[in-house]
């Protein structure tokens, strides 16, 4: 656990990354589109006995689908890999990125909040140990791994426990 002194006295207590379950949907869509692309390649191969316009169009469509899928997947993965939840001695900072689309940075200052809640709902969240962190005000932070431990660490930093 990092614990480094900053020049303004703010110390980094904890860095959390979003739970890996966040990547599951991405990977499934990626694989599904990859299979679709492979099927179109196959269809192009089946029709490819002569230089036929249908074959060429199918091949072009398969290539476009493959490339779009490839770039979309890595763009989304890189965006999500850069999402962090930082707990410092003064605040909780949640940083979210979607390359080319948006960037969010939510800040929850300890001076303005009295409590933090950890919430796990549903079988999957209990099984895979992830959930949501809720604060007095502001947007809840989803996909937090071991939210109870994170809430405890935040409470300790706030001096509530």
């Amino acid at each position: 656990m990092p614990d480094i002194d900053a020049s303004n006295g703010e110390r980094l207590i904890l860095i959390l990354h979003e739970h890996w379950v966040r990547y599951v949907r991405l990977v499934l869509i990626y694989l599904m589109l990859l299979v679709c692309s492979a099927l179109i390649f196959y269809a192009a191969a089946v029709t490819a006995y002569h230089y036929d316009i249908v074959t060429q169009l199918l091949l072009l469509f398969a290539v476009v689908l493959l490339l779009v899928d490839h770039h979309w997947f890595f763009m989304a993965m890189l965006s999500q890999a850069e999402n962090h939840i930082l707990v410092t001695s003064d605040r909780v900072i949640c940083i979210r990125h979607r390359i080319f689309f948006d960037e969010e940075m939510h800040e929850y200052a300890f001076s303005k909040m009295k409590f933090v809640e950890a919430e796990k709902t549903g079988f999957l969240q209990y099984l895979l140990q992830y959930g949501t962190l809720k604060f007095e005000s502001g947007t809840p932070i989803p996909y937090v791994p071991h939210p109870s431990a994170a809430a405890r660490a935040i409470e300790q930093t706030m001096g509530l426990t």
Partner: protein, 95 residues
């Protein structure tokens, strides 16, 4: 196995058009990869807005994982582009 030759792609106006479209798509794919990598580097450098110690830790720790992802992305883009260009140019007739 029967294959097309490069000359077949310039045999008719339609073939030339399709080859042109294909080459534009492949070029756009390489350009997209470069733009995504540059944009990603810009996003990472935005951590500099955070306090120095936090920024320093963020730059060192997660980058090990994301650099691997970035390398895989670049390598796979090159492989996919070369693979699809070869496939389009020669189009081996499997059936």
């Amino acid at each position: 196995m029967e294959m097309l030759s490069v000359a077949d792609h310039f045999a008719s106006p339609v073939a030339v058009l399709l080859t042109g479209i294909f080459m534009v798509i492949e070029s756009l794919s390489i350009a997209m990869c470069i733009i995504v990598v540059l944009q990603y580097k810009r996003v990472v450098s935005k951590h500099k807005l955070l306090p120095h110690a936090i920024q320093h830790t963020l730059e060192e720790e997660p980058e090990k994982g994301t650099n691997f992802l970035l390398n895989i992305y670049i390598i796979l883009t090159i492989v996919v582009v070369i693979g699809t260009v070869v496939l389009f140019l020669f189009q081996p007739h499997l059936f």
